[in-house]
């Protein structure tokens, strides 16, 4: 697969918005088992929130006519190929970093995007990945690039100098305008990820996904920050209440919600 974006800084003249979507392959947590201190899963999937980012990017590309590049860290090209089948123009894998060092990970992904899609002005990803749940990668990439960042994006619409976004707030829907270049983190939107057609699948089967070595991005592996993984003890210690009456039950539940930080 060629890299049609790597032709210099053409974006000033491009009508469309060039986009990068970062896709993470995650284990299906509902089928994940712990063997000692090692999590194992036979089922891997595209991070569901990245699917919404990809669908939003495909719609944006369809509207503006820009190009779409997809990037994933690791050794599994399956979901990048799916993105190509759906209409992505280029794809690359990045050599994995320490999975639990978010800055190293975000730095590698950002450098990869700048390397293979230097004209891209919209970077999209899921709000968080179902494995780490931390949701720090978009904020870190934005901080590294000194670009604006909005998280919790549900819909996006192209505007002359940027994008208009809708993000759900507490009891409200917020409409914002953001200038490009920018980083956006998506949540579940109104449209599910489309299904690839047969032509797309055939094109994806023919595509070769390059792997970018960390050294080629000017990065070196760093000392891991982590000690180990370990399973959560049995089930979360669920509290069971058999209330004397409805008022008693309501009071105990309200106390629990307050203790957990919810405004009751």
């Amino acid at each position: 697969m060629g890299l049609p974006l790597a032709q210099g800084r053409l974006h000033c003249y491009c009508k469309g918005m060039n986009i990068v979507v970062f896709i993470k392959t995650v284990p299906d947590n509902t089928r994940l088992r712990w063997e000692g201190n090692t999590p194992t899963s036979t089922e891997w999937m595209m991070n569901p929130l990245d699917e919404y980012a990809l669908e939003a990017a495909l719609q944006l590309k369809g509207t503006t006519g820009g190009t779409l590049t997809v990037i994933s860290m690791g050794t599994r090209p399956d979901h990048l190929k799916k993105a190509i089948a759906l209409g992505a123009d280029a794809a690359a894998l990045v050599e994995p970093t320490d999975a639990y060092n978010p800055i190293q990970r975000a730095t590698a992904l950002a450098k990869a995007a700048l390397h293979i899609a230097p004209t891209a002005t919209v970077w999209l990803c899921g709000q968080h990945a179902l494995d780490t749940m931390a949701g720090v990668t978009p904020a870190l990439m934005a901080a590294l690039q000194q670009w604006p960042c909005i998280t919790g994006v549900q819909t996006l619409t192209p505007q002359p100098n940027g994008l208009q976004l809708k993000t759900p707030g507490t009891g409200c829907m917020v409409t914002q305008q953001i200038q490009t270049p920018c980083v956006l983190a998506c949540i579940k939107g109104p449209t599910e990820l489309r299904t690839p057609g047969i032509k797309g699948v055939m094109a994806a089967n023919r595509a070769t996904i390059p792997t970018l070595a960390l050294a080629s991005l000017g990065l070196q592996p760093e000392e891991p920050l982590t000690v180990n993984l370990l399973p959560r003890p049995a089930r979360r210690a669920g509290q069971v209440v058999m209330p004397a009456n409805a008022q008693d039950g309501a009071q105990q539940l309200a106390a629990y919600l307050k203790q957990e930080g919810f405004a009751v």
Partner: protein, 277 residues
């Protein structure tokens, strides 16, 4: 080991929760900083003394990321618990396990879950809070903020979801689900059984053939907990179940179970919340 900590939050309760974590790590709190909206950008010349730990609530991960990059410090995200020997535990893999970090010797930015065992109790002394002034990002503009009623709030991205099942016994009882969702600024969810029965629209369905949700709080009222429903909500951060059947599967994934009829508990809870607001 790093001995000093700065606390950064948007309210005094947030700072108090962070102080509890700093105390668990045996740190000396040397500064407490309060930032206020709508600013979001850290001053370009912002700096911290060497070997300082910066503690923030995880909700302010955007600010934490800026601090980590500007100060060239490692970032440890979403810490749930800490031990005096400097071990930090962060949940991973759908809350089924933890990854443990060692407290970095050169200092770090740490974001913390201010729930559960962090911040629940705090009697830790800390310095008087001073202001951290953030500048507004002119590249981002709020165009409009539209209030959304609870019944109309989308499941996607909702922080709180209140779901009703066949245990409510009558579609008219869904008014209790709507009222509680409204009181908690949340969205209404439904099980496949009630959607199939025509009680609620399909866009409210949570589960395998509906929507997968990961809110901060999921309240299941009159829900038995079929596996097809559980796969759509069991990654929620906190789960509350109200069901009179103590053997119902929903109780096996719940953090807080009430063995009682939802039609009796919900009106009392709604009344309680309304009386405190």
């Amino acid at each position: 080991m790093t001995a000093t900590a700065w606390l950064i939050g948007a309210s005094v309760p947030e700072l108090a929760g962070l102080a509890a974590l700093a105390n668990a790590l045996g740190l000396d709190i040397t500064k407490a900083l309060l930032h206020t909206q709508p600013g979001s950008l850290l001053p370009a010349d912002w700096s911290v003394p060497p070997n300082t730990l910066l503690l923030l609530p995880h909700a302010w991960v955007g600010l934490a990321a800026q601090m980590a990059i500007v100060c060239q410090l490692p970032l440890v995200p979403n810490v749930e618990s800490a031990t005096p020997d400097g071990q930090l535990a962060c949940p991973v893999y759908g809350e089924t396990g933890y990854v443990r970090y060692t407290l970095p010797a050169k200092g770090a930015v740490i974001t913390c879950r201010l729930t559960g065992n962090i911040g629940a109790e705090n009697t830790v002394a800390m310095p008087d809070a001073t202001a951290l002034t953030l500048t507004e990002d002119a590249r981002v503009q709020v165009i409009q903020t539209e209030p959304v009623t609870a019944a109309g709030l989308p499941l996607d991205g909702a922080q709180v979801i209140v779901t009703g099942g066949r245990g409510l016994k009558d579609p008219a009882n869904f008014i209790l689900i709507e009222q509680l969702a409204q009181a908690l600024h949340g969205a209404v969810g439904a099980t496949r059984a009630v959607v199939d029965a025509g009680w609620r629209p399909h866009h409210e369905q949570v589960g395998q053939t509906g929507k997968t949700v990961i809110p901060r709080l999921y309240i299941a009222a009159g829900v038995s907990g079929a596996i097809q429903h559980l796969v759509g909500m069991q990654n929620s951060q906190r789960i509350v179940a109200i069901n009179p059947d103590a053997d119902a599967p929903i109780h096996k994934v719940a953090d807080f179970s009430i063995i009682a009829d939802a039609q009796e508990i919900l009106p009392a809870l709604i009344g309680l919340i309304k009386s405190t607001h």
